[in-house]
Symmetry: C2
C-alpha cells in the first residue's frame, strides 16, 4: 500500500509503497480520509518524544471495515482512571503505524460508527481534535446551555471544535484571534462576537461586551493567561490543552480563590469520552470545518500549510 513515512527530520514525509501490517486480534480499516494535527508537524521536526524512523504518521482517519463506515478512536491504553490517562497511553501514528496510508490496523474497539451526515473528509477531521475539545469543554468544564464561553485562538483544530460544540450546546460563545478574518468566520458560524488579542486591552473589551465568561478554553497559556482570571465570572472554569506561549505568570491568587475559579489542564480523552463526542456530533449534526483537502501523495504540502498556521479548520488528506 501507499503511505507517508517518517524517514528523516525536517524533510517532510516520504510517500512510498510499504507492506501493510496486520496485527493479531486487530482489524484492518481501508482508509478513505485522514487529517493532520500539530503533533504530525512537530514529529517531522523532531519536537516530540519517542520518535522512530520508519513510522507511518497520522492520528485521524475514517474508512471502511466490513463494508461499514467508521471513525477511528486514536487513543490507546487510556486505562481505568477517568481523571487521567495511564503511563502506557499512546496515540495512533507514533509509535503505532498511523492513518496517512491506504489502510491501518487497530483493535475493533477503537472503531465508532461514522455519523451519516458526515463526508469522509469531515469524519476524518474529527477524532483527536474533537476528543480533546469534548473532554475540555464538557468533562472538565461541565459547560451548560446558556453559559458564556470564550474560545481563545479560534481557527486551530481543537479550538474550532470546542467553539462548534459550545454553540451546539446552547452557550453564548465569544472568541479571540489575532486575525480579523478568523473572527468574522467564527461569527458566521454562530459566535456572539470576538476580540483581537493583538489589542493589549482585549480583555477589557471582552468584559464590556460579554459581561464576563463562565467557561474558557485555551491552548496558548503564557503571559496572556492571567487575563482569563479577570474575565472569568465567579465559579468560572478555565481549561487549557496546549501551551504554545510558554509558562503562565502573574496569576492573582486572591481573585482566583474569592471567585472560586477552576483551572484545568486537559489533553485527549478516554474511550468513553470519544463515544460521547461522536454521539454529540451526531445528535447536533455538527459539521467539522475542513480548511483544505490534499491528496495523500501530496501530504507534504498539507504539512506545510499546517506549519504556516493560516488554516481555519482541519487540513485533510484524501485517500482513494
Amino acid at each position: 500500500m501507499k503511505a507517508l513515512v517518517l524517514e528523516e527530520l525536517n524533510k517532510g514525509l516520504n510517500y512510498k509503497e510499504i507492506q501493510p501490517e496486520s496485527k493479531a486480534g486487530e482489524v484492518t480499516v481501508q482508509l478513505k480520509a485522514a487529517a493532520l494535527n500539530h503533533r504530525d508537524v512537530w514529529i517531522t521536526k523532531g519536537l516530540y518524544p519517542g520518535i522512530e524512523f520508519g513510522t507511518i504518521l497520522g492520528s485521524d482517519g475514517a474508512g471502511l471495515y466490513n463494508n461499514k463506515k467508521y471513525i477511528i478512536n486514536p487513543s490507546f491504553d487510556w486505562g481505568d482512571n477517568p481523571r487521567v490517562q495511564s503511563g502506557r497511553y499512546n496515540i495512533l501514528g507514533l509509535p503505532r503505524p498511523g492513518t496517512f496510508a491506504e489502510s491501518v490496523s487497530v483493535p475493533e474497539e477503537n472503531l465508532v460508527p461514522m455519523p451519516e451526515h458526515l463526508s469522509w473528509q469531515q469524519a476524518a477531521a474529527l477524532p483527536l481534535a474533537g476528543l480533546t475539545a469534548y473532554r475540555a469543554l464538557f468533562s472538565r468544564c461541565e459547560l451548560k446551555a446558556g453559559e458564556n464561553v470564550l474560545i481563545s485562538g479560534v481557527g486551530g483544530g481543537v479550538a474550532l471544535f470546542a467553539f462548534q460544540f459550545a454553540v451546539a450546546a446552547g452557550a453564548n460563545v465569544w472568541v479571540t484571534s489575532g486575525s480579523e478574518e478568523k473572527i468574522e468566520k467564527a461569527i458566521s458560524l454562530g459566535a456572539k462576537g470576538g476580540v483581537n488579542y493583538k489589542n493589549e486591552d482585549w480583555f477589557k473589551e471582552l468584559m464590556r461586551r460579554s459581561g464576563g465568561v463562565d467557561v474558557i478554553i485555551d491552548s496558548a497559556a503564557g503571559d496572556g493567561f492571567k487575563q482569563f482570571i479577570k474575565v472569568a465570572n465567579p465559579g468560572g472554569r478555565i481549561a487549557f490543552y496546549g501551551g504554545t506561549k510558554g509558562k503562565i505568570n502573574g496569576l492573582n491568587p486572591q481573585l482566583i480563590f474569592w471567585k472560586q475559579l477552576n483551572i484545568f489542564g486537559s489533553t485527549m480523552g478516554s474511550p468513553e469520552e470519544f463515544k460521547k463526542m461522536v454521539s454529540f456530533v451526531n445528535e447536533y449534526k455538527v459539521i467539522p470545518v475542513v480548511d483544505s483537502t490534499f491528496e495523500l501523495s501530496n501530504g507534504n504540502a498539507a504539512l506545510e500549510r499546517m506549519d504556516a498556521g493560516k488554516q481555519f479548520g482541519k487540513i485533510v488528506l484524501n485517500i482513494s
Copy 2:
C-alpha cells in the same frame, strides 16, 4: 454586655460595655468561647474591605441557646450556587456584630448542634477554618482514603484542620513548614512526614519520600506554587484559599495538561458544607488543636499572638 469593638486602626480592639443587638427573626446565643482568624487581625490594620468603626469583631463562636449547645455557622447569604458564593455573601464579625462578645444575634438556621466530644474552646475553634478546610479538601479536591496529601504551611488554622480532616479520612498526609517544631507536632498528630520549605529543594525531598501527592492544600501561592505542579501525581488536585506570598508565576503548562491537573481557588463554604463539616468532626471525633486561650478582656494579647504567626492551632477567647 462586654465586647471587643473596633474603634480605630492599628490600636487593637476596645473592651467595653455595649448594648446587645437583637435582630427581628433571629436568636441570641450566649457565647462561651470565640476564636480568632487572620481576618480579625487584618481588619484591625485596615487591610480588609468595608471596615466600619463600632463593629464587634469575631467570626467563630460557640454558646448556649435555649439551654442547648451550638456552634455558629459564620457564613451569611451564600446563595443557591454550590460553585460560588453570591455577591451578597458576608461573614459574621463585619459588617454584622461578631462573636467577641458575651452574646450574638444570628438566624436560627446558622446554629448547628455542638458535637458532645468537644469543649467550648474546641468547638469555638472550628467554624470558619474548619469550613474552609472542609470545602477545599472534600468538595473541591474530592479527597479519597488512601490518597497522598500535602498540606503546606501546617500550623495555621485552616491548614491544621485540612491536615486533621485528611488524616481522619484515611489519607497519607505530608506537611511543609518553615518550622521543624511544627513538623514534629504534625508527625505526632499523624503526618507521614514533613519537609522544611526553607530548604530550596524541599519538593525533591518530598517527591523522594512520598512518591508524589494526589491532593495539595495551600494558602501561600507565590513563586513556590510552581513546585506543586512537579510534586502532583497525574490527575492531582491543588486547592488554595490564601495568597500570602503573592502572585503565582512560572507554571509549566505542558506538565499541567499532560498530568490533567486541577487547580482550584477555594474560600469558605456553603451552609450545607458547614453541616457536613460538623458531622465529619463528630463522626471521626476530630479534636481541634487549640494553641492558646485568652480571656475576652485580654483579646488584644490574642490578636498579637496571631499577628506574630508562631501559633500551632487556633487562638481562642474564653467568655464567661
